[in-house]
Amino acid sequence: MRDNLNTTRRTIIKFGVLLVAVVAFYFLVSTLCTSLYTMMVVDIALIYSLIAYSVSVLLGMGGELSFAGVSFMGGGAFLLANLTTGRLGPTLSPVVSFLLIIPVFIVIAFIIGLILLRLKGTFFTFATIGLVQMTFAIYNNYKPLFGGADGIAGIPTTEIFGTKLMNYNDWFPVLLILAVVVGLIVERIRTTPMGRSLAACRDNETAARVLGVNVYMTKVLAFTIAGVLSAMAGGLYAMLTKFVSADMFTYASSTKYIIMAMLGGVQSTVGAFLGAFIVQVLPQILSAFEGFLQLFWGIAIVLLMVFMPEGLAGIVKSLGRKFRAKNKKKVAAAAAAATEEGVK
């Protein structure tokens, strides 16, 4: 058993590693991605990482599979598009609209969570599919708010602290910082009472109950967090591409986000981030095989679920465990040898 001090030291080390990794990542991308197109791919991957986090919160921590991410993503994107283009009356700046998304979707996601989480497990999953189908039909048909099949174009250029984010290069550092900060928040949730309560709901509901966890409300909270993260991702997407249309928010695209989180490792925040990158960037690298790419994803998912349901992060974890076990054995063997010598 180790004590408090040790954990503080480890936290500091972790932060150091993270900082180095983020800086290295920044320079790596800046040097590798020379064209605006590749930069766009990276930017979108960073936005998707928010949705992958949301899957990680709800599925990884809480054990509930939800497809509703795209509904909220669409909601966030259309809210921002409406506010910034003045379709609702006043015209707000993109940053203000983005900040408005957060409280609005805390309320919306909370209410929807209250309704849908009356159901358990598979039923809940079904209900979220229903939600996605409904929101898609509404986004796709109701012209006054969602532009119908044409979508909404003409979202103005975003300005932060007086700097205009003109192109995908300008956006990259902003999105990177955002993705890291949100990732840290999610990671923090994992290690606080909320994260542990969610883990208890996921692994053993009865145990959770006798440990004083209000399973229903805890899950509703997790659903709310996931909803807000998705809505934020939607808003960012609208700001980045300056165009929103309903066909981004289909059931099919919601499976993509779940795959991202599963690929990286649904139990791990870093895994979710990496998963978003792999799913978004790999197709660009393998564009020669475009016809087979979807098939490749399908097979990858099945193999992943069979051999490593905890994704890439799961592999790293089990390797680490093996390594530690080996070390332990070595130490034990050495100790045994030492005592033997002592006896002699």
Binding site: L59, G63, L65, I115, L116, R118, L119, K120, G121, T122, F123, T125, F126, A127, I129, G130, L131, Q133, M134, F136, A137, I138, N140, N141, Y251, T255, I258, I259, M262, G291, F292, Q294, L295, W297, G298, I299, A300, I301, V302, L304, M305, V306, P309, E310
Partner: protein, 297 residues
């Protein structure tokens, strides 16, 4: 609304409801048997439709040959599906893993279909044609009903009847379900659970395949045919999991609501269907008929 319009909408709705019911019944059989929600159900149907289209259009087989050969392919599909998507995952510690694997299977089926048969939709002739080769219609008063829909209803009802007889009346079916639900006890009693589970998968795949054959003339054979399963999901939840009867009624309801709402507000028919679903979920979370078996997934 004129009576003839009402009648044709009703027949349309019931026919589509029958299709959803067939898919939904398969879903329930699988949930009962292995506790898994199959997100590739619609894609099994899609694949079945392609198999039939291939046999009918490319090999030009007559119906009496088409049916047995198609059945063999469906069964094979079911077996392959079980041994790749279910069997390796049956002891997965992560309960969502199996469900997500079926999502992967859904993608695989779609892509394989595209690679084998191309991405162009194929049209299939209706089962009953008039002398000019157009879809035959049945005239009742001023209402003209397509025979294809009537056949869907008849065949659907027959299959549902047979399956419920098998699983709820006959000893073999009951034993199969018991074996699937408690493989340990079943193995002790000498019923190999692998066989019963395999049989369930074969039955489900065949039902899906027939379904595909029936809807192919209506929707054309294309790789996105699988999205019909979403309505089957809705119907199953409305009916309440665990009971075939509930699922069938729920699916029929979905089909009818969908058909009539097409009339009223075409773009929003999905909204009405899924709003119905969510209303049911909120006010009657157990569905129309309370399921006998709890949620295992």
């Amino acid at each position: 609304m004129s009576p003839s319009l009402f009648l044709s909408l009703l027949v349309n709705g019931v026919a589509m409801g029958m299709v959803y019911a067939l898919l939904g019944m398969g879903l329930i059989l699988l949930v009962r048997a292995v506790g898994i929600l199959n997100f590739a159900q619609g894609d099994l149907m899609m694949f079945g439709a392609y198999i039939c289209a291939c046999l009918l259009l490319d090999f030009e087989l007559p119906l009496y040959l088409l049916i047995p050969i198609a059945f063999i392919w469906f069964a094979l599909l079911g077996v392959i599906f079980m041994f790749t998507i279910y069997w390796p995952l049956r002891k997965a510690t992560y309960s969502q893993a199996t469900i997500i694997a079926t999502m992967g299977a859904s993608i695989i089926l779609q892509e394989v279909a595209k690679i084998i048969w191309g991405s162009q939709p194929r049209s299939m002739p209706h089962l009953v044609l008039n002398s000019e080769g157009d879809p035959a219609v049945l005239q009742i008063g001023s209402a003209s009903l397509q025979w294809q829909y009537l056949i869907i209803i008849a065949v659907g009802a027959l299959i549902i009847f047979l399956i419920t007889q098998l699983f709820e009346k006959l000893y073999v079916g009951k034993m199969m379900q018991a074996a699937c639900q408690d493989s340990y006890a079943a193995n002790l009693l000498g019923v190999p659970s692998i066989l019963t589970i395999c049989a369930t998968y074969i039955i489900v795949a065949i039902v899906c395949g027939i379904c595909g054959y029936l809807v192919a003339p209506v929707f054309m054979v294309r790789s996105t045919l699988g999205t019909l399963q979403l309505r089957a999901f809705a119907g199953v939840v409305i009916g309440g999991f665990g009971s075939i009867k509930g699922a069938v009624i729920g699916c029929l309801l979905v089909g009818i609501v969908e058909s009539f709402s097409t009339m009223a507000f075409s773009g929003y028919k999905d909204v009405t269907v899924f709003l119905l679903l969510i209303i049911f979920l909120v006010f009657r979370p157990t569905g129309l008929f309370k399921g006998k078996i709890g949620d295992k997934a």
